[in-house]
């Protein structure tokens, strides 16, 4: 086993998970603790604050009213990302498979569906990610506020998407290996797939996971805080 593979597949996952959890817990605890004197409600504010906040997190209605084009890119991008995240849980745990089988799907059926849905999702992600990048580069009001961290986050995501797509469409990769790998990590006896594209994909994804608590991507947790402050009736 190469040192690179061992670091990426054996050591980094643990580090990334710890950094992510500690980082996010720290952020959340600070956000929970800090006082907010006075009310910041923006009207019209509906009676059900929680409902409104969840709606914002799921469907971005404010953005929908503010910038329809961006909403389309962003919503498709985020929704597909969520779907793909579910797909990855399936790929590493087999839990989703058990649920689907309980619902009456056959193993081949699941594999075909995963292949089709996953394949399409991968293409959509790459396309919308690229559109977001083009938007950032060409639209004046966005370009003038874009700095290195903004491009870094987006390019990192696009690179992860690209390497993921390559595993499906290019350098073929046997999915079963990831389950063995995931299981082996929990028992601290790493069995790491020796596959260049897989290792690159994993490396980039782990970097992203570690980067989230320190970057603007933590908006995926922060949105619940900021939105509940202005939606509070």
């Amino acid at each position: 086993m190469s040192t690179f593979a061992f670091i990426v597949g054996g050591i980094l996952p643990g580090i990334a998970v710890v950094i992510f959890i500690v980082g996010m817990v720290y952020r959340l605890s600070v956000w929970l603790k800090i006082p907010q004197p006075g009310r910041m409600t923006l009207f019209p504010a509906s009676e059900g604050t929680t409902k409104a906040v969840v709606a914002e997190a799921l469907f971005f209605p404010s953005l929908f009213r503010g910038d329809r084009v961006l909403w389309t890119f962003a919503w498709v991008f985020h929704a597909t990302l969520a779907l793909v995240a579910l797909g990855h849980i399936r790929v590493i745990t087999g839990f989703v498979d058990r649920v689907l089988m309980a619902m009456g799907m056959s193993a081949e059926g699941i594999a075909t569906m995963s292949g089709t849905v996953g394949g399409i999702a991968g293409v959509i992600l790459f396309a919308t990610g690229t559109l977001l990048l083009i938007r950032r580069l060409t639209m004046q009001r966005v370009r003038e506020i874009s700095g290195l961290p903004d491009f870094f986050a987006l390019l990192l995501l696009i690179a992860i998407i690209f390497t993921g797509d390559m595993m499906r469409f290019g350098a073929h990769f046997e999915l079963e290996q990831t389950r063995i790998w995931a299981r082996s990590l929990v028992t601290f006896s790493p069995q790491i797939p020796q596959h260049g594209m897989f290792l690159t994909h994993a490396l980039l994804a782990l970097l992203l996971i570690m980067y989230i608590p320190f970057s603007k991507i933590l908006h995926f947790g922060g949105i619940f805080f900021t939105q509940s402050l202005i939606k509070r009736r």
């Binding site: 004197p37 953005l63 009213r65 939105q227 202005i230």
Partner: protein, 450 residues
């Protein structure tokens, strides 16, 4: 304390709150939606006007001082140190945002750039760099209790004049009680509604009169201006000191209800800031505003109107502080629809309305008049023109000042006034509306139905 230390302390203090500010430091996705919804950027799409760039003035220093990545990687992650020379520019930049909060309505995360603007202004205040015009308003207000610097004597003279005026209009005595201890309602208008555009105050007096409650309300000869510019200069101490005068006066008078006049930010400070944050503990009175109060009585059918007294097309400008920030949007419409023949909406409206261009105290700054007329007020001018209205009602002294100047500047023959002004002209007292001399033409206005 050195200037540098003051700024550093003010910015690291964000770690202690308020919560919104801390969150805004950490999670802007830099998507550019706010710029597309900002009235200032709409008219001047330049980098310095972009809300994110303005907010970054603070955010960059915050990152430098309070984040590890900022300390290590500096500009690469948007962290920046500052120099003493930056602040002259700050004084311009932070007074180019009207604090309208429109950006927050459309931002996917609800990031309210006006909060960061106010923080920037607070730092400028610490450094003694608040624009002189603004500082003067704060100082005068703390000295005299009102932003016009009017004495109790001048106030009493104005009230007497209004009572005479109403006597002429209706042929009977309609009182404006002053300094009455034990009155249930303590009416707190913006001073402009007594000294400059007083019809809103006569409107309130007439409502009380018709309801047979003329002995249940009062004004104060010392506290007749809810306007509080500490909100705009970011100077919390002054804002609270000014606010305390009014809360103490309400307590002294023994009022049960503090009835805020047509002034958006005054109501917002009382209702959304002072009361929930318990600046002065639990209050022995409740807080409401004249729009809600009057609307309730109209809906209950207690007030009658002769709409033909207001035959011209009338539209309503939602002041950001009343609409977006306090949700008072239906009430002014109830009053205007009851008292005007041709009420028209302007679009968008209510919580989505565009700022008049004078928000955040800008309307008091004639030093930037051209900027207000050409840039911040541009969208508003377009919106008003599109309605075809001849009268724009705005429940806010700041909006009114900005809009009046806007109409003059752009040579528009459109009158700007309050909401209760329309009510004052149309409300029936003993079955008759006011017999009134028209201000512009000097001709008596006759009721068409009467």
């Amino acid at each position: 304390m050195s200037r540098r230390k003051k700024v550093e302390d003010a910015i690291t203090a964000i770690n202690q709150g308020p919560k919104v500010l801390k969150l805004y430091m950490e999670m802007c996705a830099r998507c550019g939606t706010c710029a597309s919804q900002c009235p200032v950027y709409y008219a001047k799409p330049e980098k310095d006007i972009n809300p994110v760039i303005r907010s970054d003035l603070i955010r960059a220093i915050y990152k430098k001082l309070s984040t590890t990545s900022g300390k290590l990687m500096g500009e690469l992650v948007g962290a920046r140190d500052f120099s003493e020379d930056d602040f002259e520019k700050w004084a311009e930049d932070f007074y180019e945002c009207t604090g309208c909060r429109r950006c927050a309505t459309y931002c996917p995360f609800g990031i309210d750039n006006s909060v960061i603007t106010r923080k920037g202004r607070a730092i400028l205040h610490e450094l003694g760099l608040t624009p002189a015009v603004m500082q003067r308003v704060v100082d005068i207000s703390l000295e005299t209790g009102n932003t016009d610097g009017a004495s109790p004597k001048a106030f009493m003279a104005a009230i007497e004049f209004l009572e005479e005026e109403m006597k002429e209009e209706h042929g009977i005595d309609i009182k404006i009680p002053v300094d009455v201890e034990g009155a249930t309602y303590f009416y707190v208008p913006p001073s402009g509604d007594v000294l400059v555009n007083p019809e809103a105050t006569t409107g309130i007096a007439k409502v009380f009169h018709v309801l047979g409650m003329a002995d249940q309300w009062t004004m104060s000869s010392k506290c007749f201006d809810g306007a509080n510019y500490g909100l705009f200069t970011g100077d919390d101490a002054s804002m609270k000191a000014d606010n305390k005068l009014y809360v103490d006066e309400a307590k002294r008078l023994g009022a049960k209800v503090m009835l805020m006049g047509e002034c958006g930010h005054a109501y917002r400070i009382m209702k959304m800031m002072m009361e929930p944050a318990k600046w002065w503990g639990d209050l022995p009175f409740e807080i409401t505003n004249c729009l809600q109060w009057t609307a309730i009585h109209i809906k209950a059918g207690r007030l009658q109107f002769d709409k033909t007294m207001n035959p011209m097309p009338v539209t309503y400008h939602d002041p950001c502080n009343f609409g977006r920030s306090c949700g008072i949007v239906d009430e002014p419409r109830i009053i205007l629809e009851a008292s005007c023949l041709d009420f028209r909406e302007m679009y968008p409206n209510r919580g989505d309305n565009w700022c008049c261009g004078g928000g955040g105290g800008l309307s008091a700054m004639d030093t930037i008049l051209d900027f207000r007329m050409e840039i911040t007020g541009k969208k508003k001018m377009e919106q008003i023109r599109a309605t075809g209205a001849k009268y724009v009602a705005a429940a806010c002294s700041n909006c009114k000042r900005q809009l009046i100047q806007l109409m003059e500047y752009h040579n528009e023959d459109i009158v700007v006034g309050g909401v209760h002004d329309m009510l004052s002209r149309a409300i029936l007292i003993n079955g008759k509306a006011a017999q009134r001399i028209d201000y512009e033409s000097g001709v008596a206005v006759e009721s068409e139905s009467g």
